[in-house]
Amino acid sequence: MNPTWSRFNITSIVLGFAFLYLPIVLLVVFSFNESKLVTVWGGFSTKWYVSLFHNQGLMDATWVTARVAVISATVATVLGTLAALTLTRYTRFKGRMLFSGMVFAPLVMPEVITGLSLLLLFVAVGLDRGFLTVTLAHITLTMCFVAVVVQSRLMTFDRSLEEAAMDLGAPPVKTFFQITLPVIMPAIVSGWMLAFTLSLDDLVIASFTSGPGATTLPMKIYSQVRLGVTPEINAACTILIAVVAVGVIIASLANKRREVQRQRDEQAAQRG
C-alpha cells in the first residue's frame, strides 16, 4: 500500500515532529550563538564550548554524575539481577507476593516521596549527605528497573540448559556462571544501561539526597538556569544529547546487524 501524501498527513507529521524536536533543535542552534543572550541570534561561534571546558563547576558536576551513574548502575544491576533470579526461580516461598510488590513499588512511587524518605533515613542514621548518599539513593531508584528487565528475560529462559549443564557434571554455581549468566547477559547489559541513564538524568532524588561537594550535572544545570540561562548550558546539553544519541544509534545499529546476521545464518542452516 502506498502512503498518500495528503495535505492532512503532511501537516500532522510536521506538527508531530516539531512538537518533539523543535525545543531540542533550538537548544542546539543557540549553543552556537555568538551573543550572550539566549534568545537573540548574534552569529555563529563555538566559544561557549571552549568556555564550558573552563567552567570548573560544570566539569566537577559532570565528573560526579559519571561516577555516581557508573557505581549506582553497577550495584543496582547486581542487586536487581539477584532479585529477578529469586522472583522467577523460588516461586513458592512465603511472602513472595509481598516481596515482589516491594521490589517493584519504586517503579511507580513518585520520586519526590522516594527522595524525601531517603533524606529522612539518612538524617535519622546520621549519614552525612554527599556522594555516598546520592549513590545509595540511585541504587534504590534503579534496582527495580534492572529487576524488571532481567526478570522478563528469565521468564523465557529454557531451564533445560541449566539441567543439561548439571547433567554434564557442572555443579550449580559453575552452571550459573558458565551457562545462566552468559545467556542472560544481554538483558543484564540493557538493565545496566537503563540504570545508568536513569541515574544520569535524575534531578529530584539527587536534590534531596546530595550534599555539598556532590552536585550532579542536572542539579548544576538547574541551579544555573535559575540564575539565568547562558549559552554555556546550551552547549553542555548539546554534548549530553550527542553522547546519548551516539550511544542509542550504535546500540540499535549493532542490534540490527546481529539480527540480520542471525537471520542469514538461520537461512543458511535451513538450506543445509
Partner: protein, 379 residues
Amino acid sequence: MKSLGSIRRDFAPWNDPNAKPYIQFDNVTKKFGDFTAVNNLSLTIFEREFFALLGASGCGKSTLLRMLAGFEEPTAGRILLDGQDLRGIPPYRRPVNMMFQSYALFPHMTVENNIAFGLKQDGMPKPEIAARVGEMLKLVKLEQFAKRKPHQLSGGQRQRVALARSVAKRPKVLLLDEPLGALDKKLREETQFELMDLQQSLGLTFVVVTHDQEEAMTMADRIAIIDKGEVMQVATPAEVYEAPGSRFVAGFVGNVNMFEGKIARGDAGAASIDTGNGITIRTENAGDAAIGAAVAFAIRPEKIKVSSKKPDGAVNAIEGEVYDIAYLGDMTVYHVRLDDGHVVRASTMNAARITEDPLSWNDRAWVSFRPDAGVVLTR
C-alpha cells in the same frame, strides 16, 4: 524354531534368571503435590539394553527419566544403578547423561565447546578433550561444523550435536527424552537406525522416552508401556504387538479389532468365545481363561483375510459388507461391516501388482482368520 514376530533375538538377558539387573526401579512413587506422577512402579533394565518407555503425554514416563538423571527425587522407593542406590546423588555426580527433548544446546558456545563442556567439567587434559571432541564430531558427521553456533545449524544437525554432547563422556547410561520428536518424518526414520547403530557400536545402555509407538518398536530391545504412572506391560516389541497383556496395551500399540464375549467352551488353551450376537470365535490362544469368563478377543488387521467367497475349511469366517477401502500402495485396508453391525478392519499386503479377485464398496465379503491369529485378553 518358532517365535513371536519375525525376529530371533539372541540378546535377551531378561529371560536369563542369573542376569544381573543394571537399572532397578524399586517400588518407586513420585508425587507432585496431590498429583501422583509415578505410582509404586518397579522396572528392571539390563546392561547394553535399548529400553523404551512408551506412553501418552502426562503418563509419567518423563518423570521416570528425570528421576534417573537426578532432577527429581522419588517420593518413595529407590532407584539402583549397577547396585548403587542413587538417592541423594545430585545430577552432576551421576554416571548417566541425558539428551534433552529441546536439545538444550548452549547458545553462546560453538558446537565443539558444547561437546567439550562435560569433558571440561571432569578436568580432562586439553589434548584428550580435543581428541574426544574430534571423535564425536566424526561419529555424528559434523566435522565441518565444529566452529558453528547452534543457531547456525539445521534441526537435524542440532539433534546430532545434542547426541554427541551426551555420549562424549561415555556415560554408563544414556537417557533420551523424545530424541526424534522435533525432526520431520523422513529424517526421523533415518535417525532411528543411526541411533541403533550408535548404541551397538558404543555398547551403552539406552533408556529412551517416547510417545511414538513406531519409534519404540523400531529401536528398542524391550518396551515398557506406561499409563497413569504404572507399568502396563514390559516386553519385546514382538510380544507387545503379538501377545499384548491387556486391552489397553492391545489398543495402544498398533491397530486392533476387539470382540468382547464370554468363554463358552474350552480345553487346554483352545476355546470358543461367544460374542453374544450370533458370532462364535474359535481360538487356540485362550490361555487359562475359565469357562464363562468375560474376555476380549483381539486380532490385528493384517491377520484377517477378506474374500468375496467363503474360504474352504476356514475355522473362523464371518460374513459382512465392504464398507470402506483405503489403498495405501504397500497395502490395502478394508473396513468390513459384519451383519451384527461390528466393523472389522483388515489389511492385505499388496505383494502382487495385479489382484485376481478385487473387492469394491458395498460388496458382500467374508472375513476369515486362523484359530492362532488372535489373542484372548482377560484384563
